[in-house]
């Protein structure tokens, strides 16, 4: 009898090294603007963001108004979406996770958190280079499958189901042709996607990073805006289409009548990851590095002109003035932020780690009415 050796390893996403649960994120050094905490308090929101290659960060306020930071490890944590702040979806290297809030309405944990996200469901996607996620009206998740250039659904029976791809691609084929990366949901359906090019040759998007980027209308398949530089994070907000033109460091809107990009604000970084809170946008900033994919773009010149070094962090932009009003800078073993999501009405979120004791012991369940109850 022969036993065929198979690679041993955990079936879950967790890295091999044990990660003790902890309250403060000592690997991540955070600096914030003077008014950042007050802004969170005023807007009654907290933020969740993804720091590839490994971290999910949840930022809110402690009871005394000081910043609360909670981080968890997920392998190549990228896209994030939430459902009414009760569930978080997370796209990782080979999985889509759903984390459910285990607290009842108004309940706080013993240490004062008002959301406690437990990773309850994990669907294997294989490596899709998953970027943005969106949740449809019926609760189903869409993911941007960058490797196959399509929108896809996670599946119970397969790695994914393709659901849509841009007309300029021949089909949901592998080898990342146009670097499809961003998804704007509108009224609970996919509305717009961003890609770095509108080309179909394998890996061809790399040659179009300066000005080949497009926003595509999902319903019509038509290009809603062209000439962009590595556009990311399209979002529909207050009846307008917003997009992060990462290669120029600009947040702007798309005039859907003319197809032109109208810059609203310049941010000193490779902008990607975008959400809105009232009159503000929160946008992520990553560090371009000499010689990498994010360099050799208009952003380099603008940073040099402005005499600033790009940072990894978040910027809060007042949509009325186009000005940066608050910021958060992050230092640690990462150089990019991929996504940021606001959790309206949540003051202080936390999440349970995959390697913590809690994942096994803090069990919450409900029950069906008894079929045959106690006599």
């Amino acid at each position: 009898v022969g036993a065929r050796p198979l690679p041993a390893g955990p079936l879950s996403e967790a890295p091999a090294e044990a990660e003790p649960p902890r309250d403060d994120a000592d690997e991540i050094e955070i600096r914030i603007s003077d008014g950042f905490e007050a802004w969170l308090a005023q807007q009654r929101t907290s933020l969740v963001f993804a720091l590839p290659p490994a971290k999910l960060c949840l930022v809110g306020l402690q009871p005394d108004g000081e910043l609360s930071v909670f981080e968890r490890t997920f392998n190549k944590c990228m896209g994030i979406a939430h459902v009414d702040t009760q569930a978080l979806y997370l796209g990782t290297r080979q999985h889509v996770w759903r984390l459910e809030n285990s607290l009842r309405d108004g309940e706080l944990t013993d240490d004062g958190y008002d959301r406690r996200y437990v990773p309850l469901h994990c669907s294997t996607t294989g490596y899709l280079n998953t970027h943005d996620l969106g949740v449809r009206r019926d609760g189903r998740v869409l993911l941007v499958n960058t490797r196959f250039g399509c929108l896809a659904e996670p599946s119970e029976t397969h790695h994914f189901h393709p659901v849509w791809w841009p007309p300029f691609l021949p089909g949901p084929w592998p080898n990342d042709r146009c670097h499809l990366n961003g998804l704007a949901m509108r009224d609970g359906e996919a509305a717009y996607v961003t890609s770095v090019s509108a080309t179909s040759q394998v890996d061809s998007w790399r040659r179009h990073r300066r000005d080949g980027g497009v926003v595509t209308d999902v319903a019509t398949g038509e290009i809603a805006c062209g000439g962009l530089s590595m556009p990311h994070s399209p979002r529909w907000y207050r009846d307008r289409l917003w997009v992060a033109n990462a290669g120029s460091g600009e947040l702007g809107t798309v005039d859907l009548a003319t197809g032109s990009f109208e810059p609203v604000a310049f941010v000193p970084g490779f902008v990607r990851g975008l959400c809105f809170v009232g009159d503000y946008a929160v946008i992520g900033s990553s560090k371009p590095r000499h010689g990498d994919l994010y360099s050799g773009l208009a952003l380099d010149d603008r940073l040099e002109q402005a005499g600033v070094d790009p940072c990894v962090g978040l910027f809060v932009i007042d949509l009325r003035s186009g000005r940066i009003v608050e910021w958060m800078q992050l230092d640690g073993p990462f150089r990019e932020i991929f996504e940021v999501v606001a959790l309206p009405g949540v003051r202080r979120p936390q999440s349970v780690g995959l390697l913590s004791d809690e994942i096994r012991t803090a069990v919450r369940f409900d029950s069906l009415p008894a079929i045959a109850g106690p006599a």
Partner: protein, 348 residues
């Protein structure tokens, strides 16, 4: 995972070939897939699954496994008629994991709605996966007064009827106090009719793996190493076959019963059972194939104890040689892409 040795009895491979099926086993720390390769050689593939206990298959396409704190849904990725380079006709990988937390899972079956039902010894109940919670408790015995994490009755096994509805449940004892079952290991076990909420049979030692097959209700008495038939009218228990170890994990396949038999770990509470009293060299660690017509063990696949305690056995009827892959490594390049689900408003 510790490597292990396996010794098949002379007729085992021939018997397996006659069935034209592969066998899946869980052994506490792994899923084992036993089959015959293209040359008719016996092969055992394995996949590490932390705390693998209860297990059931949907045809030969899906295997559900209850793990330490997750339920794992394995799917097989090969198309009909396709084989991989090693000759596997089915190749399983983990497609979905549900977090249940630690529930002390033991047995698992697939209900009529296609979702698993599993036993929780810790919470004394039968449960199913939940969207919002770790699990949804669906049934508890009438003698346990609450869904509570106290392992009162040690609810081990469940049987569905032919319609996929919960029919019978086994408990080590009809106890309603914390850890109460431990003092009744010798003969305190019961079989409960889940719909009537009544005990139908008593006097079993650590019963497990109830199964409805044909007109009969089978159950194992793990602690006495017995495979039994329960007369549902009067509760009489007839012993069909005996094995020298904990009899746990049972699949009925035609006129054969596939029965797990595990050595008793000297450190565990089961040393007080009848099989625990057997001398160490008398105990065996094996998969026993019981011929029900003859009431005797016909073939065995002996494993050494490094393979872990056996909890569940199932037959994969449409596979002769099934394999499994760690999804994190094996299927990175070759993904299983489902049919296109077009968005309603997609043109073309």
């Amino acid at each position: 995972m510790q490597p292990f040795n396996a010794i098949a009895s002379e007729g085992f491979a021939g018997w397996l070939g006659e069935q034209g099926s592969a066998i899946a086993l869980t052994t506490g720390n792994r899923l084992m897939l036993v089959g015959l390769d293209g040359r008719g050689e016996l092969r055992i593939d394995e996949l590490a699954i932390d705390g693998a206990t209860g297990m059931a298959a949907v045809g030969s396409q899906t295997i559900w496994v209850a793990g330490h704190w997750q339920l794992h849904r394995l799917e097989q990725a090969l198309a009909a008629g396709e084989t991989d380079d090693a000759g596997h006709d089915h190749m399983f990988y983990e497609q979905v994991a549900h977090t249940t937390g630690f529930v002390g899972g033991r047995d698992l079956a697939i209900a009529a709605d296609g979702t698993p039902r599993f036993t929780s010894t810790l919470f004394n109940c039968v449960a199913m996966p939940s969207e919002r919670h770790h699990f949804t408790a669906v049934w508890r015995p009438p003698f346990v007064s609450a869904y509570i994490g106290e392992d009162r009755a040690h609810l081990t096994g469940l049987a569905l009827d032919d319609d996929g509805e919960l029919a019978y449940v086994t408990c080590a004892a009809p106890s309603d106090v914390h850890d109460g079952w431990r003092s009744a290991l010798g003969d305190g076990g019961v079989v409960v009719d889940a719909r009537a909420g009544e005990i139908v049979a008593r006097g079993l030692s650590l019963p497990h793996s109830p199964r409805v097959h044909g007109d009969e209700l089978y159950v194992t008495a793990a602690g006495s190493g017995e495979l039994c038939i329960v007369d549902r009218r009067d509760g009489a228990i007839e012993t069909i076959a005996r094995v020298p170890g904990l009899a746990r994990g049972l699949a009925l396949h035609g006129r054969f019963a596939l029965l797990g038999c595990s050595r008793v770990d000297p450190d565990e509470p089961y040393v007080v059972t009848p099989v625990g009293a057997l001398a160490e060299e008398e105990q065996r660690h094996e998969l026993a194939i019981v011929d029900l017509d003859r009431g005797a063990v016909a073939h065995t696949l002996e494993l050494d104890a490094a393979s872990g305690q056996m909890y569940a056995v199932t037959v994969l009827p449409a596979s002769a040689y099934a394999g499994a892959s760690d999804a994190a490594a094996g299927l990175r390049e070759e993904l299983s892409i489902g049919p296109v689900r077009r968005l309603l408003w997609m043109r073309g």
